[in-house]
Symmetry: C2
Subunit: 339 residues, 2 copies
């Protein structure tokens, strides 16, 4: 492969080297300011983050990690944006079922559709995972990938969070957006690894988090390639393809990213295996962090007893494994950008 | 989200802007030399490539494409490296079955293992896809992901191509390596999208092609997360997860990359749907290219009649869709780096 280098003209080589050197200068300058995390209060959590990033980026240090291996993975619901009173994608499902109801008069007599249309959350909860799956398929399948993208974007533009009365995308956490930016400025490649729908998240991940579609890992349904009127399309089928949650997260990380992350950020038991896979390797520096929802005044307070984002086993594991636990109330100066 | 910008210090902002400006300068210089493709003879194929890249990178031009959307997808077998006399991963399968045979005395009496051990290619061919699948599972499953990576790397280090008597990784095409480098220098993100095994390719894709593991899409088997002796592992199961070939390629592109490529490079009917998905969109500039194996002296000559890399329907489609067809004999000055 060495021949490739010699095949370049000297001018191209010089330009390439110069470009790299200047880019490095840019990123070296970008590393310096510690106020890239202005929404974080000074304290143990912020200190742990800055120390970890400092150690893996110090070229002469014992914990140096080459940029290509600086992979950081982030859960979405409850880690990058809020997840109460219900997962935002579940709100999308319920709104979508309502929007489609006129074409499905039979839904008024069939569960779980009847409960969804009546907002009967108790019956919905009783319908369990299978009931939920029926609603997901009714709202997520049966259209092309392009059509689905438009449906989600239109919903995000018009739907409002029931408590905050704002678009759901404004419920992203300002400190976590700063953290994503800070990691990228230090050579990290940031990925979302979430139980949420991959095509749902990709409609806003770049705009809200700066994470491009190809760095989003999530749950998915199957799609089918077809030529329709001479144009190629992908049609969304009502069949589960992959569930990117719990022990599915390390599987998804390996399948999509193909290397082990050095840092993982989550908030619930759904992130336990991802944190284990990332940090319990025995080799090299690793960082695990859990966002603990402790602020009933500015956001929501919950952990071991909730249907959305239960944090129980992973909270116990954090103490054993030395993962950083963020206390939202005390560690975060601001929670949302609009504060 | 606008608040983020104001949250930065002015110094950080200046550094970030300066860094970007300098990086752009570097890449603008890198775009200039047309001799980034020195192994390509001057002719229609090279001209089509350079014109396409020129058009999508010209900021003021009508065909400008922002860097984030400059996604290019490459098939591997027969497009980036050779695939005759048999797919290289099939050579790995056969070698691996031989290496494991002492632990499986029953294989000497069972097909397709007997044929594999005796090098009886006729019986192997008759065993068809199901027979092949049995061999693949016997050689690819039943170990952790880390163990499999080591097995493949050891094999690549020791195995030799039967005709060229060189490591398989040296059978990568020099003109295509230059093309990958040229596209990346022009802001493209290059992906492999191949029917080959994703974890097989990831062991060499970065070193040979400069394509990191997270930009490799391929076929896969299922894996299972487990804690073993207090350490998390992923165990490889003998179950097909995804076949990234033919109409599976657009599905894989959507699943892994999540945006439509603007350029696709293939060599066989297995790439037809990927080329259709990439180029037949009706919007914006698109580029499709097929590598046609026409050089019996320096490599191999085959198209419509071969078991490995059949090019039939896609060759007809190339004429209709205005895809560039590379004539290896006449378009390529060198084929391999060792020439």
């Amino acid at each position: 492969m060495r021949n490739i280098v010699f095949a370049f003209s000297r001018r191209a080589l010089l330009a390439a080297l110069l470009g790299t050197a200047l880019c490095n200068l840019g990123s070296a300058l970008a590393q310096t300011p510690t106020d890239m995390l202005p929404s974080w209060n000074d304290g143990a959590s912020k200190r742990a983050i800055v120390e970890f990033v400092g150690s893996v980026t110090q070229q002469s240090g014992p914990d140096f990690v080459p940029p290509a291996e600086r992979i950081a993975v982030f859960d979405n619901d409850g880690t990058l944006w809020a997840e109460h009173p219900i997962y935002f994608q579940l709100a999308f499902v319920l709104d979508r079922v309502k929007a489609l109801a006129p074409q499905h008069p039979e839904w008024m007599n069939n569960q779980p559709f009847k409960a969804a249309l009546e907002g009967d959350m108790k019956t919905l909860a009783e319908a369990g995972d299978n009931g939920l799956l029926e609603l997901v398929m009714a709202s997520h399948a049966g259209m092309t990938t392009n059509e689905f993208e438009k449906i989600v974007k239109d919903w995000l533009a018009s739907a409002r969070h029931p408590t905050f009365k704002r678009p759901y995308t404004e419920l992203a956490y300002q400190p976590m957006i700063e953290l994503l930016t800070y990691l990228r400025a230090n050579g990290f490649k940031t990925f979302i690894v979430s139980g949420g729908g991959i095509e749902f998240m990709r409609t806003f991940s770049e705009q809200v988090y700066g994470v491009p579609p190809e760095q989003v890992v999530g749950s998915s349904i199957k799609t089918k390639f077809e030529m329709r009127d001479g144009k190629p399309i992908l049609f969304r089928l009502p069949q589960v393809n992959f569930i990117d949650d719990k022990d599915g997260k390390p599987v998804g990380i390996n399948q999509y990213i193909g290397r082990r992350p050095i840092a993982a950020f989550g908030n619930s038991d759904g992130d336990l295996e991802m944190l284990q896979w990332t940090t319990m390797t025995g080799g090299g520096p690793r960082f695990g962090l859990i966002v603990h929802h402790t602020d009933a005044a500015r956001e929501f307070a919950y952990d071991r007893n909730t249907s959305f984002g239960r944090l129980d086993k992973a909270l116990d594991a954090a103490a054993v494994n030395n993962w950083t636990v963020v206390d939202m109330k005390n560690d975060w100066k601001h929670i949302f950008t609009f504060e």
